[in-house]
Amino acid sequence: MASLFRFMASPDTLLRTSLHAAHAAAGAKLVPFAGWEMPLDYGSILGESRAVREGSGVFDVSHMARFRFRGPQAAAELDHALGGAILDQPVGKARYTMILAEDGGILDDLITYRTGDEEIFMVVNAANRERDWGLLTARLRETEAEDLTLDGGGILALQGPDAPRVLAALAGVEQVPGFLDLAWLPSSHGELFVAGTGYTGEKGYEIFATAAQMVPVWEALMAAGVAPVGLGARDVLRLEAALPLYGHEIHEGVTPFEAGLRFAVKGWKTREFIGGEALRALPEPGRELVGLTADKRVPREGYPVLCGGEQVGVVCSGVWSATLEKPIATAYLKKGIDGPLAVDVRGKELPVERVPLPFVPHRSRD
């Protein structure tokens, strides 16, 4: 046993969400994550994963960075600063896109929420908050930017087939937002800003709670029987749905095309944007993101993928799938590889099977 889980990083230097005490009371194992102290699990990663697939679960993802951009040029300037089109993003809609480097590499992935003609709300990865802020503010000219991450508010991701019913009851409404729709719902906790987004492949919502709403909304969800779900299950669920994670499937060394994320750079052929020229000059990618399954052992990040004893790829992410009850992994694989694949697990060859992505079908649009 090596001490892999020595989560010792001095707790007093870590940021805490407004729900810290609620997590502790719910039995969370709290761990350092991107500078925050966050719930890894509430006892069972697999049980929490199943709760989201079968009923509903809620994740506190208030560590994720929240930016707001305002001004008459906000959409036009972000359209140039980001990989995907923003100018044609309708008010009331969310869109997945990314920040690209000049060479077309992926610096981060994010969601933009068009909250008004002249206002765009954005959520980026917690670990990239400071770099993204620097990049974006340097790329914008007239647009006013605010980093709201530390205002005490946060994001509660309510996910699962029961999520629509739970949200309708929470807000006291009959109509809940559709996939990628934004809504401002009345509720006994005040108006709730909600988006039809998530990171599980299930129907679900991200509730952008104010500081005053965080605890009451969380408690209302607990009282409604929604399972608290930690970051461990979040990783299982997002990988089952083959949703990319920054630092794994996507990073500076891969392009959106290799990652299978062409939709995230909407308008790339014709728009003028940072990274666009590089994307248009790229040769056909020589590798692709693929799905692997294995028996018993999990192919983990960094393990080489082998074919006939030769390395033909590398694993990006691997987890034990709670839904499929077997190991699953993503990997970058050279194109045109035909033959039995294996993964080098600490010096031993583990046979793996290539399967289509996602591992678990998306139901978020149903």
């Binding site: 090596a2 889980f5 461990g232 034990w320």
Partner: protein, 127 residues
């Protein structure tokens, strides 16, 4: 406190001696840190093992980890049913979830390992 009838490694393995046979396992703290177990690899009998060297691997939903041997000797028995049913290791790692038995040279095989009180300090520091 954990049982004082045995000795411990700081990497969370335990060893108890009976004559020239040492039974080896991992502690409940190790299991709680790993979480839900999915895979266990144990050595064949007859294999020579030595203190501090890996004799197998355990894998959980969260991570894979080496199993380090607390003693020098030869593996004479393994808990053969365990890899196919990890529940004893998950639920009772200090007893029914033992891993291997090692034949050692002498009664001093556990010398230099941690006693229960010293191991408790390791656990406290990592909790």
């Amino acid at each position: 406190m954990r049982p004082d009838d045995r000795s411990y490694l700081p990497s969370h393995e335990w060893a108890s001696i009976d004559g020239d046979i040492v039974t080896v396992g991992i502690t409940d703290f190790a299991v709680s840190q790993l979480g839900e177990l999915v895979y266990l690899d144990l050595p064949d009998t007859g294999r020579a093992v030595s203190r501090g060297q890996a004799f197998g691997e355990v894998e959980s939903v969260k991570a894979v980890s080496d199993l380090n041997c607390p003693v020098d000797g030869e593996v004479v028995e393994v808990n053969a049913g365990l890899p196919d049913d990890l529940s004893a290791l998950q639920d009772d790692p200090l007893n029914g979830g033992w891993l291997i038995k090692v034949k050692v040279a002498g009664a001093d095989a556990l010398e230099g390992l941690l006693d229960a009180a010293a191991y408790e300090e390791v656990v406290a520091a990592e909790s």
